[in-house]
Structures are given as C-alpha cells and as structure tokens.
Amino acid sequence: MSDSENDDIWRMDETQDLPPTASEGTSTGVSGGSGLDRRKFLELAGGFGAAGVLAGALGPKLWESFFHSPVKSASQLKSTSPSKPVVRKRPLVLVTLYGGNDGLNTVIPYQSSIYASARGSLAIDSAKVIPLNNGYGLHPSMTGFKKLWDSKQLAIVQGVGFANPNYSHFESMDIWQSGVVGNPVSTGWLGRWLDATNSSPLSAVSIGPTMPTLLTGEKVQGAAIPPGTLVLPGDSTEQLLYSALAQLSSGQPHLLAEAAAASHNLIQLSIQMGSTLSSTASSDPLHLKDANPSSLTANGGAALAIANGGGGQSASNVLATQLSIVANLILAGATPQVYSVELGGFDTHVGQMPTQEKLLGELDVAVTAFVDAMANTPDGNGIVVMIYTEFGRRVSVNSSQGTDHGWANDVFIVGPAVTGGFYGEPCDLGRLQLGNLVFTTDFRTVYATMFDKILGVDPKPFLMGSFDTFKMV
C-alpha cells in the first residue's frame, strides 16, 4: 500500500480544505425526516447510475435489507424511528463553560464594599469594569458583550442555581445537563425533548467528538458533528455495506444496538449535512481570520498554557471554531433546532486573573462574532445563545490567588431576538452561606423559558414540575 493511496482516507486533521467530492453527493444539506432517501443515498454512494446496478453488485438480500427493513420499536431501533419533519423556529445554541466560571468576576458588583474586601487582590479594578447598570458591570475583557448589552441583545439572569449544591464539578454539571435535582437520571433535559417529540437525532447536534449528557435521551441521542470535512471513507460498496451493518438485529444487547444506531445516524448526518460541512470547512463565517490574530485569544500571552481543570487550552479560539460550524449549518438552512458547543478551563483555584481573562476574552470574541454574523440573515436572526457553567465560585479569594468551588451564578441569554437586560434576582452579598452566594432563581426557570419561548413546547413534562418563565424572547 503506497502512501498516496492512503492519504485521503486517513484524514483526521481538523483543517481540511478539500472541495466536496462526488462521493459526498449533491444534497443541499436539507432533508425532511430521518428516513433514508433512496435517491440521495445513491448520490452519496456515487458511481452507480441505477439502483439495479448497485443491487446487482451487492446481491438482492443486502439491497432489500437496506431500503426495506421494517421499522422496529423505537427503543430497539431508535435511529430509524418515524419522525416528524422538524419545523425550525429559533435555533437554540448552548454554550457550556466547563470548570465553574467565576460569575462574581464576570458580572461584577463593582460598587460593593463586600465584594472589594472579600476578593481583595482578585477584585477587578472598578475603574476597569465595564459598567452596565444597577451597580453591576462586565469583566474588562468583555467589550463585545457590552455592545450586545447596549443593543439590547444580552439578557443576564442573576442568581441562578439549585438547592443543596455540593461543590462537585461532576454532580453539579450532571444536575445542569440533566435538569433534575436530587435524583440522578441518565437523560439530558433536551434528550427528553428529543424523545418526547420523536425527533431525529439530527434535531440536536453537538460539535466535537463526543456527546454531552444534555442531548442524550432514552430513545434518541443527538448527533455529534466532527470538526472539518465530513467525507465517508471507502468506495460506494463499502459505504453501502456500512449502512447495512447499521441495521439492527432483534435482541441485540443495548450497547451493540447503540453502536449500530451511531453508525446509522452517521449516514443520516452525511446525507443531510455532509456536503455543507465539507464545502464550508475552511470558510470563515465569523470573519475572524481577517482580524488581528491576537484578538482570537484576548490575552496574547496565552502560551502561558495554564488551563485550570483541563480543556480550553489552545493557541486558537476553540469556541469560535465550533461556532463557525454552527454558523455554516444555520446559513445553509440546516435543520437542527439545538446546537451544543463548549469551552473548558474555568476551574481557577490558582492564579485566576490571567486564566479567566483569557477565557472570557475568547468567549466574548466568539459569541459576539457569531451573533453579529447571524443577526442579518433570515435563518440566523432568530438564534438564541444560552451560556452557563456548573457552579459559581466562593466569594472570598483563597491564598493561591484563586477561588474554590461555590454555588450560584449568572446565565447569559444572547441573540437578536432577545430582550436584553437583567432578569432574576441578584444574590445578596450580605447574606452568604458558608461563604457562598445563595441562589435566587431556580435554573429550571431558564430551561422552562427555553422550552416555552424557543422550542414551543410545554416545559412541564421535561422538567417534572412547573416553573415560571421569563419574557425575554
């Protein structure tokens, strides 16, 4: 096997600029429902002009099994369960900040003497804070968010949390992603929505190799979109065999059925979004490459390479890369209703100041550019971006110029259709518990708002209870 023969098939790098090839088909990236479209699959398979040739090449049994397999129970064969065509309303883009961003130094009560004394040397200089109102201001690196605030596109929900927080990254993030407090469940708050609406896995997509809990349902798991082009390996025969392999046999053990479903969903993803992803893989929808490279990492000295808690460790803006893919899909009229992206590294126990400055700068640049790029487009002007993290941090600075795990935090809701301003109730710095901010607003209030205003469904069954909603969208 020569090198050149291998070159195209082992393409794992993230920055490919190959044009779409014949094997990717010519679909526009839009397709209703999740049932395999025979014509599109033939385009995808390529090379064969007529179904008969392909069927002849592979044998009638395989052909039959592929296009005429009976639909089995949804839990057994989740990926081919009948699904309604998705009527896109407003794409919801979730930004998960892993590690526990310090909310107190993000939306800062900069006029509070309690803040100044508890934070000491970690308090942001009030002269540098970007003032909003009510005595709160933004971290100095968030100049883009200030513009969004001024144009009434930035909503800040204050004092968000839940009862009996326990400081654990993992349990806290599980609670946030599952939307359930007290009794751990394996499904995500949007995974249950996928289940209940019998949605295609392509209705909710995550950008990256793996799938966060929040898009995992009992029956349906959202799709994960790899960065870069989406070119299936192999020739048409191998691709058709792969699709056949993704058919389930009855009585498959659960995990093997899940593996087959992932393969099946990959074919779906390729048919519906492959050409869009591949043809736009090197585009720059957020117009960031023209900008001064240092603006991508707000703190040019990012090579210090301190990533508190892992992730978020890159010379470039990883969040912007993910949001570029989201932007390309939305601009191409793709069908997902929900997108999930993430940024890590917020676990700032030590030397918080430079780390948080760098990360908030990346967040600011990426989200602002994304919202700007979407604002004047017919498919993008309805987007709503929700930014959250697993917990806030302790009010007092520790002896390592950092902060330890804490409780309540703020949630950002951003978008052209959002009515900007403060929502919820700020935490009372004069009434801390064990040195922590006490939540005023149940996080499920935010989720109920997303269900009600964005997804257009009754929140109650998904949140197992009734919660108020905000009139912000």
């Binding site: 291998n6 190799p209 192999g234 191998e238 392999l245 498959q252 992932a262 508190n308 030590v350 520790n398």
Partner: protein
C-alpha cells in the same frame, strides 16, 4: 460461556484482545491458569514493551533563568515540549501494541483513567512520563502506597494545585478531588472534612529546581484537625492513610475496577460489597484484579456485552490484530495521537479530573466516523493475509478469528458475507461492526 469465548473476553478486558496463537496457548492453560498468568505478569519484565526506547525528555529545572526572554527562545522551548509530548504518546502507544504482559499496560491505562491528570496543565512531558511509570511500578500493589506515590508526584501536584496550598485559606482542590474522585466517592465525607484535609496538605509543593516533592514547614499548618472522625490529624500522609483505609474507599475502588474491567456498577451493589470485604484485607490491586476475573459475573452475558471499547482500547487492539507496528507508520501520516484525538480520547490529556466517561459516551456519530476512517486505513495498511489468503467461502471465519469475535448478529453476519469479495472491505467492516466496537 464456552472456554474460547471466556478466554477471548478475558484477553479483551485484561489486555487488548487475543491473537489466534495467544488464544490457543490460553486454551491449553485453562481459564484460571490464564488469569494467574496475566496477574503474575504484573510483576514481571515485559520483553515486548520494555524494548520500546524511552524518549529523551527535558529534566527540571527545564530552563535557566532568563533563557526564555526572547520570543524565538520561547517558541523553540514550546516546540521541544510539543515534540516531547508526541514522543511520550507514541512511546506509550507502542508499549501497548508491543506488550507481552498486557494486563500491566491495561492497568496502567486504567490508572490513568482513575487518576486523570492532563498535560495541558502539567505542561512538562517528563512529569507525565514519571506518573505513568508510577502506575506501572506501584499499580499492582497496595492502593495506599499507590495513592501516596501519585499524590506526591509532580504531575498531580501541578494538576490539582496541591503544591500551592497556603495558609490561611488553603485551596481545596486536591483535598476534594482526592476524596471525591480517587478514593471514597461523594457522600462519604463532609465539607468539614474537605476543609480539614486542605489544612493537612498545606505546605505540600513541588520543588521547581529539582522536580521533587517537598513539604515547606513554614507553610504547613500544624493545627490538629478532626478528619473523618479521626482526631489530631496534621499531615497529608495521615489523610491519605485514613481515606484509603476507610470502608467507603474499599467499595469505591472495587466499583471503579469492576466498572472498567467488567461492566458499570455502583458502589452500593451487593457484588461490590462481596469483593470489597476481601479487598479491604490487603488493599492489593493485583489480588483485586484476580478476584474480578475469577468472579462468576465476570463471565456473564451482561459482562460480555457490558462495555464499549474506549478509543485507546479500540486502536491498540486493532493494531495488534492486524500486526501494525506504530513505529513503521510513515512520518507523512498524521500520528496515531490524532486518530485518538478524533475519537475524543487523547492519552495524557483527559478532559478533566473526572476523566473519560464510559460506553455511550464513545458512541457518537462523530466517533463512528473516526472509527470508520481508522478501520478503512488499517484494512489497507495492516496485515490481512489470514483473510485475503483464505478461500472466499471461509473469509468470514478468518476475520472472526483474526479479531477474536466468537459470534455475529444476523445483520452483521450477513453483511460480512456480502463483503467477502474484497478482503480489505471485509476487514474494514468487521472492525466497525457493533461486535468489535463492543469490548
């Protein structure tokens, strides 16, 4: 479960899958004999893996004061670290591919998942290498000694900021994760215990000049703490002794091992209590592994279909089955680490102190594509002669034997039959089949 299926399962879980030759030799030893052979291999030299040369790595103090004052010098320095990172990743991958004592490399991988530590924060590859060697040399012994060795090693000191614990408000990072993630599990200690432990760890630090652990007496709190009901606790070592010898820790460690070698289980499961009472007597990891492999439930149907291969297990197992030496992959190819990157599991760089989740986490559409790309490449680059040289009618049997898969579902079986004309395609499809993706 028949003997060959049991041995194949054992080889997948205690190693990276069996070759037909290994399986035949194992059958001669019998199941229990094979368990003993694998477990005793934990203490023995490894002629395969030990032949892999150790990369040359920068040693502390890494650079002289002022040596990195120019952008060019800094760039060259980071380039060196980046090259070293590639080198240690390849070193470990090659060890796992070449090992003759697969359980030792597998246990090392398990411990990397149990004590997840990431180079993105640790920065210096030599520290990750040192931690990796601790897993190899202490991993099969006493869990308290292992935890002590890992906790006082540079990688962990940097990763969880233990080296920066200072009075009067010591940060809680290491104290909390030690209990929550490494030794006891949440719910078995109070916030008061976290605080008390954080005081006991004050003064622990890494000497940046020597790269050695030290305790700074001036920074250490001698104030006696009551910790988990024990009075008068003042040192970090006491904290480690108390947590690793606690009752919740026995269950926690057993559940962690069982969950990664057999199938996911909660510490509250009766099976855990049963194994934990034996483990609590010596806290010896080799004995625990033997007990897991000898447990009847290890050979149950639920166990056989209870795990998905983690990307590292998938890639290493496939390379071994197709006899591809990573050293012979041409430099023009992206390194194997980029394959693992696309699968979401980068060695030495877990996403957080929580490590990598299991099973469904690895079954995304994105990882399905990455697996297929790798499988397709491997079917062209690897040695598929056992399949290609077989008559067409017996090629499915040949690929089953090559990948040590004992049975296929009806859809996989019929798809593979449809693929026999092209042995490369057949192998590629077998590698992405649900049966092979499972562990």
């Amino acid at each position: 479960m028949d003997m060959l299926s049991a041995l194949a399962l054992l080889y997948r879980r205690a190693g990276f899958g069996a070759t037909p030759t290994e399986l035949a030799q194992a059958a001669a030893l019998g199941y229990n004999g094979m368990v003993n052979k694998l477990v005793s291999g934990l203490q023995q030299p490894d002629s395969g893996a030990d032949a892999i040369p150790t990369p040359t790595l920068l040693q502390p103090p890494f650079y002289k004061p002022g040596a990195l004052n120019t952008p060019e010098a800094r760039q060259a320095f980071y380039k060196t670290l980046s090259d070293e990172r590639t080198a240690i990743t390849n070193w470990w991958i090659m060890r796992m591919v070449a090992t003759n004592n697969p359980l030792r490399e597998k246990l090392t991988f398990f411990l990397h998942c149990h004590f997840p530590t990431a180079i993105s924060k640790v920065i210096y590859p030599v520290y990750m290498y040192r931690q990796n060697q601790i897993f190899r040399s202490f991993g099969s012994g006493d869990f308290t000694q292992l935890t002590t060795a890992v906790s006082t090693d540079p990688a962990m000191l940097i990763w969880l900021d233990a080296g920066t614990d200072r009075l009067p408000d010591p940060n809680e990072n290491f104290a909390r994760e030690l209990m929550e993630r490494f030794t006891m599990g949440i719910g078995s200690y109070s916030e008061y215990d976290v605080r008390a432990a954080a005081f006991a760890f004050t003064g622990w630090h890494l000497n940046n000049q020597t790269g050695e652990f030290a305790i700074a007496p001036r920074l250490h709190s001698n104030l006696p703490q009551t910790f988990l009901g024990h009075q008068g606790v003042t040192t970090g070592q006491e904290v480690i002794n108390i947590v690793t010898n606690s009752e919740p820790s026995a269950k926690f460690v057993v559940a962690s091992v069982w969950s990664r070698f057999a199938y996911p289980i909660k510490p509250t499961d009766p099976l855990v209590a049963e194994l934990a009472s034996a483990y609590a007597k010596d806290r010896n990891m080799a004995n625990l592994l033997r007990a897991v492999f000898r447990h009847p439930n290890f050979l149950s149907a639920g166990s056989a279909s209870g795990l998905i291969k983690q990307p590292v297990e998938y890639v290493i197992g496939a390379l071994r089955a197709l006899r591809v030496s990573p050293a012979r992959i041409p430099p023009s190819k992206p390194p194997l680490s980029s394959v693992l990157n696309s699968l979401g599991q980068v060695l030495f760089d877990p996403p957080s102190v929580g490590g990598w989740p299991q099973n469904e986490y690895w079954l995304s559409t994105s990882s399905a594509l990455a697996r297929w790309r790798f499988a397709h490449w491997l079917s062209l680059a690897g040695d598929i002669s056992p399949v290609a040289d077989s008559p067409v009618a017996s090629r499915v049997d040949a690929v089953s034997e090559m990948l040590s898969i004992q049975s296929w579902s009806s859809s996989s079986g019929s798809t593979l039959k449809d693929a026999v004309a092209n042995p490369h395609t057949l192998v590629s499809m077998a590698l992405v089949s649900p049966e092979y993706v499972a562990n």
